[in-house]
């Protein structure tokens, strides 16, 4: 298994409270990895560590064996793009204008807009399925369309590694399926995708590598059929469940066996 991105004995804290403890993990290249875990288990912090947005209190985040903290932000931004949970769309911006801003790390003071930028923006909009929205105001789009526009922006950044923080929240089920399909398609074309996700069954269907977090530690990491097991669900969510094959994809599917529970 090849990998460029790796956490080496990383601990992280948020506002003085320890969130991740001594985690070591590799993110396989060209694979769609889903990070999952209970609320407050440190999923978003893990993603921010990978994107260099949060500094670890101990350990190293390595890209090609080099600590990301040693890379210049603009260089890191040519390898890793991260879509945060709540990006802001400036008032009155149009879709194409927004997607163009993904090209920032490839531009310089004296070369603001090139043919390569044009090509990357067109390709990104086509891939995310927003080419026909190019001239629309972002504020007039539906939630699902808007999320695809943001995906187009990070695709235009044209990085081999893409990090997404809960990209499917606020989307209805049809848009969720569409987005998951897009992410697995991107990974099949060679991109490394790392997404924080909540829906385990969806993740099992579309992602090929799952990471389960609980109590600031990695409880399990591997293929869906290795990770999604009754004992993992018990350890991570303290939930009793039966694992059955998904009737469509035959990937593992979690069916909670408790009807009510006491935490």
């Amino acid at each position: 298994m090849n990998y460029r991105l790796q956490l080496d004995r990383v601990s992280a804290a948020y506002e003085g409270v320890s969130v991740l403890k001594d985690i070591s993990l590799v993110l396989p290249d060209g694979v769609f990895t889903a990070i999952m875990g209970a609320n407050g288990s440190g999923k978003s912090t893990l993603l921010k560590l990978l994107g260099g947005a949060v500094a670890p209190v101990a350990g190293k985040i390595l890209l090609d064996g080099k600590p990301v903290s040693a890379l210049r932000p603009r260089h890191l931004a040519r390898d890793i793009a991260m879509l945060p949970q709540f990006p802001l769309a400036p008032d009155g911006i149009r879709v194409a204008e927004l997607v163009m801003r993904g090209r920032f790390p490839h531009q310089t003071m004296f070369r603001q807009w090139s043919a390569a930028d044009r090509t990357a923006v067109d390709a990104a909009m086509a891939q995310a399925g927003v080419a026909d929205l190019a001239h629309r105001l972002v504020s007039t789009l539906s939630g699902g369309q808007r999320q695809r526009v943001w995906i187009a922006l990070v695709l235009a950044q044209d990085t081999p590694i893409l990090l997404l923080d809960e990209p499917t929240s606020f989307l209805d089920i049809a848009y969720q399926v569409e987005l998951m399909a897009l992410l697995s398609e991107l990974s099949e074309r060679g991109r490394t995708i790392v997404a924080v996700l909540h829906d385990i069954n969806q993740a099992s269907r579309h992602a090929s590598h799952l990471v389960m977090l609980a109590g600031g530690q990695v409880i399990a990491a591997g293929r869906p059929d290795e990770v999604v097991r009754a004992e993992t669900m018990r350890a991570v969510f303290r939930l009793e469940s039966v694992i059955v094959p998904d009737p469509v994809t035959f990937t593992p599917m979690v069916v909670p066996s408790e009807l009510r529970r006491n935490r």
Partner: protein
């Protein structure tokens, strides 16, 4: 988009040229345009030559201060993602002004260059204080504006308290303190110009980064923009631009609010386009207000700061109605 920017820049530049010529022609003794043009090459009558020569530094100072106030406002609005940010509202101008008054009070009549440095120091201190106070308990757009307004009131009040304590000082800073462009030599122009130029260069570098910052700090960071570094550079440019402008004209409000606002209404969301047009509209506003200040009273001149306030306040009120939530 770019065609629109080109047209806007062409229009604003022509307006700037016309106003610049008008500001050489109009005043206590108005001259016909032909004579102004002749005087610029030294071919007019001695009186006309002398009048135009006296008005040139004033015209240049208005342009420099217009660029300073307006660009400072545009940068503040972009980096805070708050359309109400403005060096006047946020207390930066008042701080610069207080520092100038203190400088004059302590050292007697100071050189323009000394005043520029004092003004930038005052701008830096009040700007930093507003940042610190508004970030206590989590910075919000509203808290930032409220702290700015409070700081503006404190610094402004302190400035007047110092001024009123000394009749001699009062006489010397009164005109400047209400905002004015009454200069007849090149000394202030020479003092202010390098700082405005430095501020302009800094905003050139900032433009693309501000476009990324507009998407939120998390996404901007992922695009390779150093957030802390960009905020520091933006603060430095605001201090230099607003400080230099205040030392030239006294605290003139609203330019930093109105010019970027108008620019955004015309060219849209690209910060590079907004900054470019703002740098032209600022001087247009300040030259217009200065011309109005010269002719609005039957005798003498109205203070520039007051003219600008009369023109700017209604726009601020209109704006407050259009913005639902901060």
């Amino acid at each position: 988009m770019t065609a629109r920017l080109g047209l806007a820049v062409a229009l604003a530049s022509s307006m700037l040229c016309i106003l610049a010529l008008a500001s050489l022609a109009i005043g206590a003794k108005s001259l016909p345009l032909g004579e102004v043009l002749a005087a610029l090459t030294g071919d007019a009558s001695d009186v006309a030559n002398e009048i135009v020569a006296m008005r040139v530094p004033r015209m240049l100072l208005a342009i420099l201060a217009g660029i300073g106030f307006a660009l400072a406002g545009a940068v503040m609005q972009a980096v805070t993602r708050n359309v109400l940010a403005d060096p006047g509202i946020m207390g930066v101008n008042a701080g610069a002004s207080l520092a100038v008054v203190l400088c004059v009070a302590l050292t007697g009549m100071a050189q323009p260059m000394t005043l520029v440095w004092a003004a930038m120091g005052g701008a830096l201190v009040t700007g930093a204080l507003v940042q610190i106070f508004s970030s206590l308990g989590g910075a919000t757009a509203l808290r930032l504006v409220l702290c700015g307004v409070a700081m503006s009131a404190i610094a402004g009040g302190a400035g007047w308290a110092v001024t009123l304590s000394d009749p001699d000082l009062f006489r010397r800073v009164l005109v400047w303190g209400a905002g004015s462009l009454i200069v007849t030599d090149f000394e202030p122009v020479r003092a202010v110009a390098p700082f405005v130029l430095a501020g302009v260069l800094l905003t050139l570098v900032l433009g693309p980064r501000l476009n990324a910052i507009a998407l939120g700090n998390d996404l901007a960071r992922s695009l390779g923009v150093g957030i802390a570094g960009t905020q520091m550079a933006a603060a430095a440019s605001v201090v230099v631009l607003a400080g230099a402008a205040t030392s030239a004209t006294g605290p003139v409000g609203f330019v930093g609010l109105l010019a970027p606002l108008a620019a955004r209404a015309v060219v849209g969301v690209d910060q590079r386009a907004i900054l470019a047009l703002t740098a032209l509209l600022g001087p247009v506003l300040l030259l217009s207000a200065d011309l109005l200040a010269r002719v609005v009273l039957p005798q003498g001149e109205a203070p520039l700061g007051i003219v600008m306030a009369f023109a700017g306040a209604p726009v601020l009120i209109a704006l407050a109605y259009r913005i639902g939530d901060l």
